[in-house]
Structure formats: C-alpha cells, structure tokens
Symmetry: C2
Subunit: 227 residues, 2 copies
DNA sequence: TAGATTGTTAATCGATTAACAATC
DNA sequence: TAGATTGTTAATCGATTAACAATC
C-alpha cells in the first residue's frame, strides 16, 4: 500500500513553494554527489540562488526536517522531498507528437533518474506509426497510432502526458487525454489549452520564454537611446 | 535609428506582467488569423485563460491602447506588444550543445515568426564540428567549435544564447557567454547557473516541471488514502 | 556552556481582483 | 442618448524577507 499521511498535511503548500521543491531536490542530489552529508540552509540556498530564509520557510511546510545548530541531513531531506513530490517511484508518461521536439524529449536522459519513464510515443502520421525508437541504450519504444491513445492510457493507468504536437492538433489531443482520465499535462504547443477545472496544465512556450528575454534587452537599448 | 521612447516608460513593468505579454501577443495573433479586427478584454482574456481585469491592468502599463465602449484594435495591439517586447525585429540567437534537445530547438519552426533566427550552433565534440544542419527548408547552419563561441558572439553582436549542453558543461559555457558580453540566457541544463547580477537567466528544467505535476497527483492519491 | 542554525513570527512587498467612474 | 467597455482605484490576497527565540 502507498504510504500513509496525516490528512491535510502538505496539501496546502503555496504554489510558489511547490514550484521550488524540485529545484531543492535537484540541488540536494548535487550536494550529495559531492559527498556532503549535512548542509545548512545558507549553504544550500547559495548554491541554488535562493535566500536562506525562503528555503527554510519552504522546508518548514514539510515539517521540521532540520536540526537547529546543525543543518539538514542531506539524505533525509532528499527522501522527504522525494516522497512529497511523489518521485520516490517512477511515473510512466506518454508523449504525443513525434516531431523533433517530441523525439528529443523521448530520448532525454534527464527524466530517468528524476522519477519518469517513457511508456509510449504517439503520432498521427501513418508513415511513422509502428516505427521503433531506441530512446536509450537498449530501451526501445514503439510509435503508436494516436487513435489508440485513450485506450492505452486507461489500460496502463497513465497519469501524466506530454503534448509536443503542432499547435493546430494540441487541443484535440488535450481533449482526448482529459476524456481518458488524465489530470496532469505538460504541453509545448504554443496555444492556450482549454481544460476542465481540476486538470493541471504546465505550458512551456519556448518562444515566449525568449520574448521575456528580449523585453529586457529592448528596455536596455531604449534606455541608452533616451540618455 | 531605433524608435524613441519616453525615458522610464515601460521599464517599470511588474515581472509578472512582462511574463504574460508574450502570451497576449500569441493570443492576439491567433485572433487576427481568425479575421477578428477588434476584441474586448473579456473575449481575449477568455481565450487565453486569464481574467479580463488582469489583462486590462497589464495592458494599461503600456499606455491606453484600447477604446472605451469598443475594445482593442487587434492589429494596433499586436504592434504595441511587438515593439514593447522588441520582437518587431528578428533576434539572432546561438544554441550551444547539439544533442537531441539542441538540434530539435534549432529546427523548431515556432521561433521564426516570433522574432528569432538561429545564427549558429556550437558543440564541443570533434566528430560533429563542421557538420551542416538543415534547420529548415533551404536554411543550413554549420555546427561550430565551442572554442570559437566568444569570438562569434562578439563579431556578430549576438545578445541571446541558449544552453542545451549536459549539466556538467553548462556553467563553463555560461561563463564564456557572460564574458563575451551576453546578458540574456535560456538554459535547459538541470543545474543552477551562477551569473553576475544584470545577467538574465531563464531556466527550463523539464524534469522539475513534471515533478510539479507529480506533486499534485501524489497529493490527490494521499487524500484518497486518508479518507 | 558558547556558538550555530533552525523554525516561526511579523512586517513588507508585490500581484490579483472587484468595482466603477470615465468615456467611446 | 443608452449601452458597452476601458482604465484606474482601492481592497484583498499571496509571497518574500528580516529578525530572533528556540534549541541543538
């Protein structure tokens, strides 16, 4: 049985805190790889570019995992964060859309040791359906027909899906996913997805990210002109 | 000469507003493609999942681009947002790291019509340096030696760089970029980069994004158990 | 014990929302 | 003019920071 938990515990984490927990976990794994067993909030915070006050406050929501006067036990805190985030196990994910971006995510090594494995790839193009992709040394995955997406999700209890289709196809795929019972979606399609409340969408819009950078470059350029 | 601007104007935009402007621009381009010439804050807001109050407040920072009783002229607002973000021109960018992810970004069609073009690709592996990559129909780019990165940036006035190297190489590449005069970096390497103040880093950590989703899945699972 | 560092409180800061006067 | 919708204000909400008592 899955681990038990006091009702309500850790449910009310502020959204901003939740978004930082993976960064803390990543930082701690780095620290552990360097052989460090105990770390203070200040040392850890410095290494990941947050303030120590923020780090302590965020961690305090998970309950007291530190020791006053000493710091945090790295292994213990990794364990606590992994359990809180649910990445003490591996989550099977599906990727829908096998273009350049989708295939690169399928082959992305960084998912494996952080709680994820690729369960299947889907596409709508007949010419690539049925192809076998070697996503890592010795691990092969079939590209399946997107028409079988809903069935696959139900039969394999998939809970997380990644959309890497063209923008025009994304909403249709999203609807299929939601109808099949998916509540967690990561999408790279540059279009606002419509989902029922309760469905969690994380959108990564690559061009938008770059445009946030150009805003600042542009602003600097304008300042020079204005002087 | 670049367009003139009242000193201070649009510089003090809240960070949260700046991060939404690209979404507004994207939504407006969609709307325009559907042939709509004037849109109310409520219609536009609904289509991109923000509130109309937030949209109006954000747009008000750019100065009054709407007409009371009528709405916003789609073409005018696209122009205003493009100028504010600086994407009324094309920014040359470099991609450092030609693995699966880097190559997929190089070929990503979504950059072209949103203000960016790939100026060059860089890698450290001798076996791929010098290779030609067709990043789009008829557009070819060389993979250059990362040793020539700083020179290339200076000679071509590159202002934005993308890091898609393995984590272990990222900080070194970042230092090179910063020393060469880069102030805007998008990175996919799952490591916290150290940069001097004034350098703008947007990190996209794919596994961290997924872990934010698993947190909620995990929380839901725990709630069921607790009942 | 003395020094170090957490966990927590209170103050500050920034972002969002609701409401409506201004005005097309 | 009457109806519609912006731009702005004030209130609320949430996130961050600073400071320090608790405690190892």
């Amino acid at each position: 049985m899955a681990q038990h938990r006091t009702p309500g515990k850790a449910v009310g984490l502020p959204a901003a805190t939740v978004a930082r927990l993976p960064i803390y976990l990543r930082g701690l794994n780095e620290v552990k790889a360097r052989g460090i067993e105990v770390i203070s909030s200040e040392e850890l915070a410095d290494s990941i570019n947050v303030t120590s006050a923020q780090l302590r406050k965020d961690l305090s929501y998970l309950g007291g995992h530190g020791t006053r006067g000493v710091g945090y036990d790295v292994t213990d805190l990794i364990q606590a964060l992994s359990v809180t985030l649910g990445v003490d196990k591996q989550w099977p994910i599906v990727i829908v859309g096998c273009g350049n971006l989708g295939m690169s995510l399928a082959k992305y090594a960084g998912f494996t040791n952080r709680g994820f494995k690729i369960a299947a790839l889907f596409d709508a193009a007949p010419e690539i359906i049925g192809k076998v992709v070697e996503i890592s040394e010795g691990q092969k995955v079939f590209i399946k027909d997107v028409a079988s997406l809903a069935t696959f999700i139900r039969e394999n209890n998939i809970q997380i899906a990644v959309i890497t289709t063209p923008a025009a196809a994304a909403q249709g795929v999203c609807d299929t996913l939601v109808n099949a019972g998916i509540f967690s979606i990561m999408t790279f399609a540059p279009i606002s997805l419509n989902v029922p409340s309760g469905v969690d969408v994380r959108q990564i819009d690559l061009a938008s990210e770059l445009q946030i950078l150009t805003f600042h470059e542009q602003t600097k350029a304008n300042e020079v002109i204005a002087i």
